[in-house]
Amino acid sequence: MVFSSVTFIFYFLAIVIFLYALAKGKVKNAVLLGASLFFYFYGEGRMTLILVGVLLFTYYYAKLIELKRKRLVLALGVIICFTPLIYYKYSSFILANFGIVYRVALPLGISFFSFQASSYLIDVYRKDVKASSSLVNYGTYLTFFGQLVAGPIVRYETIAQEVERVRRFEVDEVYTGLKRFVLGLAKKCIIANTLGLAISEISAYDSGLILWMIAVMEVLQLYYDFSAYSDMAIGLGLFFGFHFLENFDHPLFATSVRSFWQRWHISLGTWFKDYVYFPLGGSRCKSARHIFNLLLVWTMTGLWHGAAWNFVLWGLYFGILIILERYTLLKRLTKLPYLNHIYLLFVIIIGFVFFNHENAFEYIARLFDLDHMVDPASLYYLESYSLLIVFSLIGATPLIKKLYQKAGAWSYFKYVEAVLIFVVFGLAISYLIGLGFNPFLYFRF
């Protein structure tokens, strides 16, 4: 089930909120757990058993880790936790490299809940959190439908207190959650999906200008699509009393690749930093080892996104850029206001060609083929989609947020805001209806 569907908004969510409001005390978590398992079952059917398996295993194994706090025990637990992910996501890729064709369907969101579950085992081992004493509470944390299939990757300690205590509807928080949910819905339905349609409409053409438009729009689409999901997840969390950490912070407005990755899919970056990069020694080691650590983390980041060589290249591309920035470029970039934004956008657009196209090198070469740069059709589409691209770029900067905050100082703005919520909701619903089935791009990870 996707958030941006009639089923979710007008039925599933409405019923869950109603049941949650009726439930007393600890039954509230049981309602959320049941709803989350149904949410997953709705799209994945029997694959739900994998989610339940990971849930049961990590719940009981964390108790074992508390009893026998040994590295070997932890390592075994993490390996078992990752086994379904490795089988479903990587077996086809590994075997394909040996010429063996083997296909298996990827369960939705397996990368997200596997990383979340493994972080729980590690945190219990490190004594950052205590193992949960309630399967229902832990299950609520691991399977919460708000962020189950596309993140953010929430660490147990972030919401441990909230999930263990009895929560109530708080008007201020639910209102903030509603704003955030509607914002996410609008970003997904109005911007991301429209960008997706535009991309598919022009993808039959191959002039340089069209390829540049596609490359730019793909980055924007991915940003709006994924950050929209995170917005909705954070909003849904607030409905039920959970405070998830931010997952995006205007990454396209960054001035370096390093800063970009501190603002894009923050929860994944934090996971790799805390559970791979720091344990390897991070930056507090010799340069050669530091470079090795970075390349390893970025190779893994690429592989997390997809089991294919283009994702490995994509990860390495950013790893190399971060190393270059760290050792030479960063000092120069800080002295180049405005130009550093252009640098960032350029390397991001090129980098995400690896993400979106298996024939990335050929695609990039055609981006710079001056002999086939412009044709009449490309000018037609540039004119047609220029406002969409400009609006999307402006929306990706902090400008709107700043203007919104300034307007908030005006005493009557709250009424304008209330009207805006309904107008934007209505517009987003009209796009949702118009586009039919529109899954989130990050579902495939």
Binding site: V171, S384, F425, S430, Y431
Partner: protein
């Protein structure tokens, strides 16, 4: 306080739309000219059931048509798109964008040459290509398909004589909201084709009947900045005329006015898409017979042939496999006409 009001209003809105949608039962989405998603038997273990449920609820959403209109209009006024899903408006008409597919045209030419040489080598065969209405309007999309591209390829490679009709058509020969031509504008076209076949054309007194308002296939994808169409048909003397539909194994009407409320009102003409029709006219005894291979454009044209021929056999190879042609025992003393719109010629992948 205002936050509580907003939350209450939003809850009521979601609840009301959800409940109203459950009671909004429709079989046909007339605005989109398609059937609404049906909800099959309850099969919770089958993921496809839940996908169908999503589609069902979306199709039956209480304000679906309004939502679609807002969606289209916002693309024009918010994003200034030059077209919506390949449909644009010019001179009060809706046009769709289509790019030239040389391979598809070649495919059609190959199939037509094969058919003519295999099944009708002793019969006179002719070909008519129908221009798009875009050909009668200034070029809007730079790479839009032009009739001249198709015609040159046909001239070069087709082994049949072609009957030209482009000079008899103009923009107002077509519907504003649909790709098809209007039957009431086709008298001269019918006359030209029949006489080019060497047959005698029975001129009709053109009396028109209005079947009702017509929203064509392009309307739902437009910015709604064009007038609706009226669907007229030419009132003919149909005494003694019978139309047999092989698929339905029944006689059907030349004009079926009940089709005006179906997903595609253009099905008014000759019962819409059908694999094989046999039209006979007891009043005509001139020995003239015709076999027509056609697409949907011929549905509105062929009624104008009825009083000129004893027998017309009509085949649509999108729905009837060429390999089964022998089973039909087509008339061996009939002339053969291939008549296709440019859209079909340029997208001939559906040819079986």
């Amino acid at each position: 306080m205002y936050k509580k009001v907003v939350l209450c209003l939003m809850s009521l809105l979601v609840l009301a739309l959800g409940i109203l949608t459950l009671f909004n039962q429709k079989e046909i989405l007339s605005f989109e000219r398609r059937k609404a998603q049906d909800l099959g038997d309850f099969a919770p273990l089958d993921p496809a059931y839940w996908e169908d449920l999503d589609a069902y609820l979306s199709d039956h959403f209480i304000f679906r048509e309004t939502a679609l209109k807002i969606n289209n209009l916002s693309k024009k006024y918010l994003f200034a798109f030059k077209d919506n899903d390949g449909v644009y408006t010019k001179q009060g008409y809706l046009f769709d964008i289509l790019t030239y597919d040389e391979a598809a045209v070649d495919h059609l030419i190959l199939k037509t040459n094969e058919l003519a040489n295999t099944y009708f080598k002793d019969q006179d065969c002719y070909f008519v290509a129908i221009p798009r209405k875009n050909d009668y309007s200034e070029r809007y999309f730079p790479d839009d398909l032009r009739f001249a591209d198709i015609k040159k390829q046909l001239d070069d490679k087709l082994s049949l004589p072609m009957i030209a009709i482009a000079d008899l058509l103009s923009l107002d020969s077509y519907y504003k909201t649909d790709i098809h031509w209007r039957q009431e504008a086709l008298s001269k076209v019918a006359e030209r084709i029949v006489e080019s076949l060497g047959d005698t054309y029975h001129r009709e007194d053109v009396k028109l009947q209005n079947a009702g308002t017509f929203y064509g296939a392009l309307y739902a994808r437009s910015f709604f900045d064009t007038a609706k169409d009226e669907l007229y048909y030419v009132d003919l003397d149909l005494n003694g005329v019978k139309v047999f539909d092989l698929e339905k194994d029944a006689y059907v009407k030349v004009y079926d006015e009940s089709a005006i409320t179906s997903p595609d009102a253009y099905d008014l003409f000759l019962d819409g898409p059908s694999a094989y029709l046999k039209i006979t006219n007891e009043k005509v005894n001139n020995g003239q017979k015709l076999i027509v291979f056609r697409d949907s454009f011929a549905s509105s044209l062929l009624p104008l042939f009825i009083n000129s021929y004893e027998e017309i056999e009509v085949l649509d190879l999108r729905y009837y496999s060429e390999s089964l042609l022998d089973e039909l025992e087509l008339a061996s003393d009939a002339k053969v006409l291939f008549i296709y719109g440019s859209e079909f010629i340029n997208q001939s992948g559906a040819l079986r």
